[in-house]
Symmetry: C2
Subunit: 341 residues, 2 copies
DNA sequence: AAACGCCTCCAAAGCGCTTTGAGTGGCAGG
DNA sequence: CCTGCCACTCAAAGCGCTTTGGAGGCGTTT
């Protein structure tokens, strides 16, 4: 069933039907009712491609799904996506996912945007001086960056968590508990958020005249297995740290396992703080020793980004708030205690 | 940059350009090269909406993302999606996600399909006598069901794991080890896969004259926290089971925690087998006591479904293999041992 | 009575692509 | 020299929608 058929059925012009359906004022209330009813009964849905062609908009936002071969379905990505979905549902948007190898992301975005598949899109997994930002700014399609890119002026729209601050505060907490030897189990070294977290730790330490030994820093995928492996390595080191910071509760899951297996007690022999993205799957309070965390909901971020994107599409001129920097909440639980000895 | 502009630039008709780009034979090799080069240089991409309007196809498959309010970003969904993405990437497809409340799924699919947003789609989270299947069959768009629907003739295209068999075999293994008291921590009670798994357990038990007490069955969301809660309840019961089956390694994560906390030793005091969807996030071999599992890769399922869908789109007449029933692999690790005392 | 304005509705153009049907020019065969 | 055929190219129609620029009818104003 298409517009033409519907118009013939009702003996009205396509114009009128279209207007009636889209809520334009220049149509008789009674006529509109007739149209609405017929549309309902026949199950008519405007063809989205046609609408897009005619209007340039079609109610969809785009995202690139990173597909590194070694990397797997990322729970963090999923949680974020869930936030997007919540918001999209409320506005009858859908989202288009274009999978892409990391080195072809720029290409992928170009494709998505210039083929007119999406009205707006978002960029994530930022690296320092990320070239995608310049590209995005040169394109007419609205976008938002999830995260930021070190080394670039912050003149692009973004939503980010203050990772540096979160990890600085977490480190300060541990310092105040008397800890002196630290380790950091971080995300991939080329990602902006990981770099900022490391900076946060380093700054807090530097303020007390301490520093993070290069050997005490590990960069890895955010999986349970890597968390385990890294922690194992750390525990085997010459000077065992008493305080560990983890970039994710998923990493912490493995890390805690390694700690237990080494016969150490979390919160007594070794303290740990993880960043908590508020994954439904894995709650820090449900760990055997509840985890002290820096928390910030990834899902909320997704929701907010979708919200801003949808607003931008609906309202192209209204200038949006550019920067949004969220503060992670430090929640103290049982995995942090006074430094031993 | 669009076709018209490109044609003016090259002094050729739009027809010729279109043919050159799409590999039709009736164009001079030299001309084709010129066109290809110009397209490359100008960054021309055909508008997807226009192409879809003209051809009826646009290279996208659709899926409904279930958004129950209590349910969260599901790692299983993510893992599956990753498989889809792998395959889509290889064929320059993208996928369109429409989030939907469970009770509006049918509506959501109708919208996605009749608005022409997708060339094909897949259905998942099947329930018994699921009405979506009849609907899908009545629509002209190709689809595949991930899973099956009990109570319906199997005359629709699907890819499923033989859940009943997997759980029957797992149960038999435990029976052979001398276990007599069983518990099942299963997924949501209304989902087909959960029902089949329960049937598998019951059949294996029945063959030895045993049955599963209603109190020994729990249905729950597939999260760490629920796994913990259910196992805790089970352990507090009057007759404590010695063998537990888990619908997911994620559930097992929590369940194992509860077992440890109760001071029991996994594989000795209590045996556990979990279904392993091959989540990268969570490997059964990485549990402190490596988990015995029934394994089947969700990602492979996603890949296969995308493959079949894409074939169906490219090749509408070729009739596809309807049914594909995969066998889960039983992998024995340390979490199963002889029944105690 | 003429003019104006408002309310409804419509015909037609146009979004960017694919595809049909119809030329062109060049060359071999009769 | 004419015809026929091949290789190549083009103009135009059409996909289903939105939107511009009227047009007709009717009540109100001057």
């Amino acid at each position: 069933m298409n517009l033409k058929q519907l118009s013939e059925l009702l003996g009205l012009s396509q114009t009128t039907i279209s207007r009636a359906l889209n809520g334009y004022p220049e149509v008789n209330a009674q006529t509109r009712l007739r149209v609405l009813k017929a549309a309902q009964e026949t199950g008519y849905r405007p063809n989205r491609a046609a609408r897009r062609l005619a209007t340039g908009k079609a109610g969809s936002i785009g995202l690139i799904m990173p597909i590194a071969s070694e990397q797997s379905a990322d729970i963090h990505f999923a949680e974020f996506q869930r936030g997007l979905a919540d918001e999209c549902l409320a506005h009858e948007f859908h989202f288009v996912i274009m999978p892409s190898q990391p080195d072809e992301e720029e290409q992928a975005i170009r494709g998505l945007v210039s083929s007119g598949s999406v009205d707006a899109y978002y960029l994530a997994y930022m690296r320092p001086r990320d070239s995608r930002i310049a590209m995005a700014k040169s394109l007419p399609t609205p976008f938002i960056v999830h995260g930021r890119s070190l080394g670039l002026a912050e003149d692009y729209p973004y939503v980010d968590v203050d990772n540096e601050r979160a990890f600085r505060e977490a480190t300060e907490l541990l310092l105040d508990l008397g800890h002196r030897r630290f380790a950091l189990i971080n995300g991939p070294a080329d990602l902006d958020f990981a770099i900022r977290r490391q900076i946060g730790v380093e700054k807090a330490l530097a303020a007390r005249g301490l520093r993070l030994a290069p050997a005490a820093i590990s960069n890895t995928l955010m999986t349970d297995a890597s968390g385990y492996r890294q922690m194992e390595t750390i525990l085997r080191g010459e000077v065992r740290p008493t305080a560990v910071l983890c970039a994710s509760t998923v990493l912490a899951l493995g890390a805690v396992r390694a700690i237990n297996q080494a016969g150490l007690v979390l919160g007594r022999d070794i303290s740990l703080i993880a960043h908590d993205d508020d994954l439904m799957l894995l709650k820090p309070e449900n760990f055997i020793v509840p985890l002290t965390t820096t928390g910030s909901s990834l899902r909320d971020a997704g929701r907010r980004i979708a919200e801003r994107l949808i607003t931008a599409v609906a309202n192209p001129d209204a200038d949006m708030p550019i920067a949004e920097l969220w503060t992670a909440e430090l929640v103290v639980r049982a995995s942090t205690g006074r430094a031993p000895g």
